[in-house]
Subunit: 366 residues, 2 copies
Amino acid sequence: MKTFDLNDKISAPVSKVAAYVPGEQPGTPDWVKLNTNEFPYPPSPRVREALMCELSDGCAKLRLYPDPVSRRLREAIAHHFCVPAEYVLAGNGSDDILNLAVRAFSDGDKKIVTIDPSYSLYPVLAKIEGSQLINIPFENGLEIPYEKIFSSGANIFFFTNPNAPTGAGFGREAVEKIAENFDGIVLVDEAYAPFSNFSAAELVRKYPNLIVVGTTSKGWALAGMRIGWAIADPALIDVLDRVRDSYNLDRLAQAAGVAAMGDDNYYREFRGKVIAEREETQKFFDSIGWDYVKSSSNFILFTPKDKSGKSSPAAAASLFDFLREKKILLRYFPKEKSVSSSIRLTVGTPEQMKAFKDAALEWSKK
Amino acid sequence: MKTFDLNDKISAPVSKVAAYVPGEQPGTPDWVKLNTNEFPYPPSPRVREALMCELSDGCAKLRLYPDPVSRRLREAIAHHFCVPAEYVLAGNGSDDILNLAVRAFSDGDKKIVTIDPSYSLYPVLAKIEGSQLINIPFENGLEIPYEKIFSSGANIFFFTNPNAPTGAGFGREAVEKIAENFDGIVLVDEAYAPFSNFSAAELVRKYPNLIVVGTTSKGWALAGMRIGWAIADPALIDVLDRVRDSYNLDRLAQAAGVAAMGDDNYYREFRGKVIAEREETQKFFDSIGWDYVKSSSNFILFTPKDKSGKSSPAAAASLFDFLREKKILLRYFPKEKSVSSSIRLTVGTPEQMKAFKDAALEWSKK
């Protein structure tokens, strides 16, 4: 055959991309896994009931394509957020939705703006699309750089709220200020909103440029099922839908999502437990004098102090490794300078948090 | 707020796209559904066993992210096709893989070539990416236009084999001729290969420019679970992987796929039934003098003749509507000129085929 040089064949944007590296997923269940912000309790019992129903008749239903428009799931999401179903698009996790938004609303000319730090997937998605991502740092620590965002000339603003990896949350006033003044599309990435006291979904009927993105991964204990959504004016939903894969959610994901989103009592009770445990853990950090960002999410970004009372990337790395030795897994971002002296801790069960606290104390005295 | 004109905000390629329209998925189970080439029998009983196992402990596992690299599923696919696991990438259906290939190997300059007609999703994916798709018609009915493909200047060739919507299959010789002479990447889309007697997967170690794409949707009775794959040299797999969403397959899809791909006896027995029924149905068309393309897949593209013995788009539309009235659903492509006098029939169970044959005979005498 002819000579084949693969490098010649790769598309211009993808030739410059390295694959996104997600948090580690250990293969064995003996870890205290506090690294990827999963919910620490099982999903609503209704999820199992719904799935059992889908498996009836020897799984005969699975031979048929799923509903391409995820109608029942979209209705369940719409009901939860008090919007009509035509305001909702379902995705294979919210990462699917973020990818659709990058493709629909950015290109070689149309730029994306975000605040640094934010969800680390955005730069990867932008690179794959060949779009420019403008990264504007938070001001004075954790304040939104409004004017720089408004004057950025970008076509779409990716606003992680509550923020990752800091956990800080912004309320209605901030989102309204942005939606009113930003000359483009405002995408609010609300993966962690179930642990805050605000969702911008209530604003989509007021702002035709607002897209609110969510997922069952964090608040509904279904990270394993890849269910996400966009909530927006139907004109925006229609554009995202043009890019969507027709059968992006399988039958079991749709069924699990309907069941989980439909069980409000379970949702309220168990997210309450996580929020309570988060407050306890923040008190623990207060008690030992470690800084942290006050969290509106199900994780805490904290800055450990070594025996001599100093914070540094070396101290963070040391604690991260110390915990890892004990099979307690957190998330550390050594390459992101603004947070390289800190570690991100997912809020788990009281038992998991005790294991973390005991180990952290042991390290602090070493 | 400022004036918001959505049309100004849509990315250049997506502004020209209309969403792909998949085959109809009726919401009620009383249809004889022969329109989207699903497998007519349930999946292997091992699928239910594996899923039940995943649902244990009140679905506690579902709170955790799935394996981002679908290791066990890739191993099962690799085992089936006798290649090492690093030659395999898993997708959320083969549509996911096709999308990755368009993004990885085409752009504004790097073109795609395909044969007309082929899988109707390709033009949609190319448009979303802003890539040019060159459509070269079959020669003399169903012959591959080799020279035109080789001189097309395209970067990647999308080769649906067996073809959709004709069902015609091409063997090892054709694929080798293409892989040796085409100056670019050859993607063989083998959704229907389980019903033929050839898979190009055996050639990926010989040709570093060959990608073989498959799915459990047709041959393994799991259209509802969205499981697909690419099989190729690891250097090609690495490029596709850069574009892949990290968690593109949920836990239950991975478990179902491992179970289905692992049950070879079931696969052989039930695909044999479909092949036998296809041969019977072709004999039926012979017996009533209707033309069809000899099929290597689980569907037949046939050309009905009306009472006066004539074929036409009007006759095809008439039969399609007649069957639809009886809740027998086939697939008709009125806008694709090369096949507008024909209808595509998914091969079903003997009972479903009897219902179709009886109705077709009734129509032919009207």
